[in-house]
Symmetry: C2
Amino acid sequence: MGRTSDARERILTAAKTLLLSRGYSALGVAEICKAAGVPKGSFYYFFASKEELALAVIDEHWTEQRAAWTRALAGAGGADEGGVMDGDGGVRPLRGLRRLYESTAAELREGQRNCGTVTGCLLGNLALEMSTGTAAVRERLREIFDEQVVLVEETVAEARGRGEVTVADAHEAARALVAQLEGQVLFAKLYDDVGRLDVLWPNSLALLGTRTSAGSE
Amino acid sequence: MGRTSDARERILTAAKTLLLSRGYSALGVAEICKAAGVPKGSFYYFFASKEELALAVIDEHWTEQRAAWTRALAGAGGADEGGVMDGDGGVRPLRGLRRLYESTAAELREGQRNCGTVTGCLLGNLALEMSTGTAAVRERLREIFDEQVVLVEETVAEARGRGEVTVADAHEAARALVAQLEGQVLFAKLYDDVGRLDVLWPNSLALLGTRTSAGSE
């Protein structure tokens, strides 16, 4: 059974790359199987349909991404977080937000090196392509973005509790930050320029109403 | 030739609706012709390819949208702008920005009534679907979003000239506002909820660093 589970992983990996570069609608099961190097029968052994495969890719992607978000926001790294500048004067919860943006940019840069262009956000791409399409995928994407908002909201609420930001509604603020992230990733993709994400941090300080001078760092 | 030019318009109208609801990749010329009620030969009389049609739809859409953006931002309506609240204390250039958000929400609501769901932003949808695809469409979309940023930048620069906002870089600020708009429209589409746009105005005040209390209106 070792070979069989390897085939499932290969299908998921190939499908994720193809979904990122070409989207869902344009993609056929035959093409996925060819890229994965598995026979079509093998595909239908694991997945009832292309939709079921897409849901599996989304879930696997979010499992990894959630771990990365949690790591960045919680700041498990403590004081030694490498390239992260310390210019924000010890505002610890907000530093998590900054780490999140930096890890997002790093991930996009890695994708750019591998694929030749910025492929953007798998979930955002699918959200725009499919939200008027299949209900199951739309529902799953809604749940995931809700989770993203909750993760960011915890950081914002913590910063507010410490009096470091003045924003009134942590939930709305978290939604704004996630929407800003998606919007800038869209433009990073369109202009093939990860540098578009550089403004996320100063803009977030402005959006949150930091006590220090916002947007000037 | 009256019938012929009518056919071109019908193709463009049908294509725009289908592009909004189903995207580019999933769409075939036959389907567009069927929806437009024109024979396939008629299609190829006007358009060399689906790509050329997409470019024509994009151009027609942006011509209309640019007029709406210019109208909203310039505030040709003067003092009598109907539903626009006056709570921002006579900050005239910024009121243009607010009108822009309100007209965007109104347009999405109209689309929701007609299509049953929020279909989002045609340009943003295509940007995510196609920016790793055809170069011609990607180039055109880049030009259009650049124009959007310039339009918003003029408003921001004017507000800054009057000392009404404190943001340092009007160009970066305009990019942030357009990215925020695209991000929130993405979520309006995904959650089928135009109300997602309500935060654009207070968030913009925070991003721009207004002299009045930001984010609380």
